[in-house]
């Protein structure tokens, strides 16, 4: 943007007024972290999906992404490390009209919380899970995690990570998620469209967002500026809607396949099953 194009926007209200808890700003996110824009996009998607705001609950675990729930002016829950998903299931089944969104990081959802993710997908629980994958544990200072790729440097992988990373879309798809998409932090419009689709769909829907973490990931991996990480995403990303999720693993310097991979129609959800059990229990003469 050249200087003559630059102009101060004057407005009485910010488009997100009422959607953020004003008393909680400023946020804790680092400069050039993508969590601010992910928060913004999530709110835009919630607006677009036109939910009754009373019916939205946002649940996070622990970590940088885990702080997002607390900034949002919905019913918001900042739970324990890894346990956002089962907490969200408890919220979800107590009101079938409630839309429950889990937003958390890769370590929270797939290391300590991995068991809950796979079972929630298997049950087709009525929750939308958004994972901001920044390839490391940011809040605790940059340790390696379950999505750290082979050869990535982190504080607990000082000689380069050696373990195989999770391929998150493939994990979600193989466990039964009805909607699976991945976008990088650069793809803000497509990300919003996916968030909206995921929110409007019944059942277990999952969106992976590749986040930019210059502070604890980039700094150790020749991507020390947020802009560099976004440029890296831009250079490596390729949209392949409907790609076989087995092919979308992310390796060092590999192509990054993004897009909507799974969108299954008409699969019974956990809420459907629980309501069916209620009907069956009343119909049978079983004692009790």
């Amino acid at each position: 943007m050249s200087e003559e194009e630059f102009q101060l926007i004057e407005a009485d209200a910010h488009p997100l007024d009422g959607y953020l808890r004003e008393g909680r700003i400023p946020h804790i996110f680092c400069p050039a972290c993508s969590l601010g824009s992910v928060t913004n996009i999530l709110i835009e998607a919630i607006k677009e999906a036109e939910f009754d705001r009373k019916k939205i609950s946002v649940v996070s675990g622990i970590g940088c992404t885990g702080r997002i729930a607390g900034y949002l002016n919905f019913d918001s829950f900042h739970t324990t490390h890894g346990r956002a998903i089962p907490f969200a299931i408890g919220l979800s089944v107590t009101d079938p009209e409630r839309k429950v969104i889990v937003i958390s990081g890769d370590g929270d959802l797939f290391a300590i919380g991995g068991n809950h993710f796979i079972h929630a997908a298997r049950r087709n629980a009525d929750i939308t899970v958004i994972c901001v994958n920044n390839f490391n544990y940011g809040m605790t200072g940059g340790q390696a995690g379950p999505t750290t790729y082979v050869g990535q440097y982190q504080t607990t992988a000082p000689y380069g990570a050696v373990e195989e990373p999770f391929n998150l879309p493939d994990l979600a798809a193989s466990c039964g998620a009805v909607y699976v998409a991945r976008w990088s932090a650069l793809d803000v419009r497509r990300m919003k469209d996916s968030f909206t689709e995921a929110l409007l769909k019944k059942g277990f829907t999952f969106v992976e967002v590749l986040g930019s973490c210059p502070t604890t990931f980039g700094r150790r991996n020749q991507l020390a500026e947020g802009k560099k990480i976004l440029e890296y995403f831009k250079e490596k990303s390729e949209i392949q809607h409907g790609a076989d999720t087995k092919t979308v693993r992310i390796d060092k310097d590999s192509q990054i396949i993004v897009g909507k991979f799974v969108d299954i129609k008409d699969k019974k959800t956990l809420t459907d099953h629980l309501m069916a059990i209620q009907r069956m229990s009343k119909a049978t003469g079983k004692k009790g």
Binding site: R21, G23, R24, K54, K55, S57, V59, G70, N73, F74, D75, S76, F77, H78, T79, T80, G82, R83, I85, P86, F87, A88, I89, G90, L91, S92, V93, T94, D95, P96, R98, N115, H116, H119, L274, M275, I277, Q278, R279, M280, S281, K282, K286, G288
Partner: protein
């Protein structure tokens, strides 16, 4: 969900012959529990099985989770969803739950955890009795907090105290533990379920101020804030971080002092209302037994036998284990020459009694390490020893 089931009774008023586990499940339902999240574990599984059968009929939900960690997380989520919720487990499962019990304490989330105790440590004695989780119930999670734990000694009390556990959890906004044991859970006895209208049911206090004025963690003199839950327009903000009255994280020593003091004091200040004791033949006693749960049954038998022999002995039965009845034990220490504590562990309640008597009287534990109960005769021998 649908509401076409008026013919299916919620409270099973009448006389039953049933087990402690089933009675505890029915007491929970009578208290208003409509969500159960759990994971199978001996000797508590019959509670889950009974809830799986019963809850759907009365528009409740039963969910078998992937582990106990998920179970208690789901229970907390359901409670914030506005539904009375519970889980049931045994020692190993309780061990997995303690972090989220701490979340429940910090966020002041009403719910009930039943621990049908078996012998430990570790996998221990899956099918046999233990009373070894008394201290775990008190101190299992990290940080400073007060808790409530109740201990039934018969099937009727499994029903009554499950209901009371819900009432306490709703009144004081915290997870409450019903500390059963394998023998109480599996024994069959008479249970009388009163008519619904004779039951006292307490539900969480609701806010009366409008959402834009509401401070979710601002308490009145009761020290227990009203509880808005999800979907009511209050946009609740719930975090396990130290928080201010708005529920917003505030990591200052001042906020920590205020928040942690209150969640402790709300129980400390009300402990007289929470502590339930049974005093049996204590008036003229020179020796007192202090016991609870299954052990208290044998202890009562020992008192009866001792009295027939003219020995002045009585029983203080702890129905509430936490908060501990320090003052009552202290008074007892002024009266008796000796306190004997029959318990199926290696001295957990004995240690508390020793602390509470301030050295004023002799304290002696009568321990079983798990897997077997005392007989009244064995306790009688302990009374007669000297």
């Amino acid at each position: 969900m649908s509401n076409q089931d008026s013919e299916i009774p919620v409270v099973l008023t009448g006389q039953h012959y049933t087990t402690g586990n089933h009675a505890a499940a029915e007491g929970s339902i009578a208290a208003g529990c409509r969500f159960f999240g759990g994971y199978p574990i001996t000797p508590s599984s019959e509670i889950a099985e009974h809830m799986a059968l019963r809850l759907p009929k009365i528009n409740g939900n039963f969910l078998q989770f992937e582990d106990e960690i998920a179970s208690i997380a789901g229970v907390l989520g359901a409670s914030w969803g506005g539904v009375k919720s519970m889980t049931a487990t045994s020692g190993p499962g309780y061990s997995l739950m303690v972090e989220n019990i701490g979340l429940g304490l910090m966020t002041e989330t009403p719910c009930v955890i039943i621990n049908v105790q078996r012998g430990g440590p570790s996998t221990g004695l899956p099918t046999l009795i233990g009373q070894q989780d008394i201290m775990q119930a008190r101190w299992g999670s990290h940080g400073d907090y007060e808790i409530i734990a109740l201990s039934p000694s018969n099937v009727q009390e499994c029903f009554d105290l499950a209901l009371e556990a819900f009432n306490f959890s709703e009144q004081y906004r915290l997870p409450v533990t019903l500390l059963m044991d394998e023998v109480i859970g599996h024994m069959s006895e008479k249970l009388i379920v009163p008519p619904k209208e004779e039951l006292t049911i307490i539900s969480r206090k609701k806010p009366t101020d409008p959402p834009d004025k509401h401070l979710p963690y601002k308490a009145d003199d009761s020290l227990v804030p009203p509880m808005a839950t999800a979907g009511e327009g209050y946009r609740v903000m719930v975090t396990g971080l130290t928080h201010d009255e708005r529920g917003y994280p505030d990591l200052s020593p001042e906020a920590q002092d205020k928040a942690v003091r209150r969640i402790n004091d709300k129980i400390r200040l009300n402990k007289d209302k929470i502590i339930k004791l049974e005093e049996y033949m204590l008036d003229d006693a020179k020796t007192a037994l202090v016991s609870f749960g299954t052990s208290a049954r044998a202890a009562k038998g020992a008192v009866n036998r001792a009295r027939k022999k003219g020995i002045k002995v009585g029983l203080l039965r702890l129905i509430t284990l936490w908060p501990f009845p320090d003052e009552k034990i202290d008074q007892l220490a002024d009266q008796v020459d000796k306190i004997i504590i029959p318990e199926i562990n290696y001295g957990q309640v004995t240690r508390e009694v020793e602390r509470a008597v301030h050295g004023k009287t002799e304290v002696k534990g009568d321990f079983r390490l798990g897997g077997a109960i005392h007989t009244p005769q064995e306790i009688l021998k302990e009374i007669e020893r000297n």
